[in-house]
Symmetry: C2
Subunit: 83 residues, 2 copies
């Protein structure tokens, strides 16, 4: 079976995020003042071939922790669903 996986990676809470801060400063120029605490990160979408949702989640977690995120500086979360 094919599953669709999304991995979001972003800097851990205590680490300065200049991209997020820049976006936040740009908001007032657009007239948007209801948005706060912007954090920028990366996202990855891929397909996993596995026999169950558990197996697909475990493959996606493994990939996220070993290749997509730097565990020293970054948090990641993984969402897997059947296609």
């Amino acid at each position: 079976m094919r599953f669709s996986a999304t991995v979001s990676v972003r800097l851990r809470g205590g680490i300065a995020d200049p991209e997020g801060a820049t976006i936040e400063r740009a908001l007032s120029a657009l007239g948007i003042d209801a948005v706060h605490n912007v954090r920028a990160g990366r996202s990855f979408l891929f397909e996993v071939e596995a026999s169950s949702l558990e197996e697909a989640t475990s493959i996606a977690e493994d990939l996220a922790g070993r290749l997509l995120a730097n565990p020293v500086m970054e948090d990641h979360d993984v969402k897997v669903e059947a296609k």
Copy 2:
């Protein structure tokens, strides 16, 4: 009320994604062969101050379409939930 919003931005389907292709090539070196069609993108997490979920979603959609994504080359999706 405060809502938590996540915006994922990625290149449209027909547009070459060299970062995703590079990740896909790196997978075999890690012994992961069940993963295909990797697409790389960006994600943004922020808080929205609004009186309802509908208003928060509309603010997040506006921000995504005007500042975070380039509608010519990129697709985006928005998820908003109460904190």
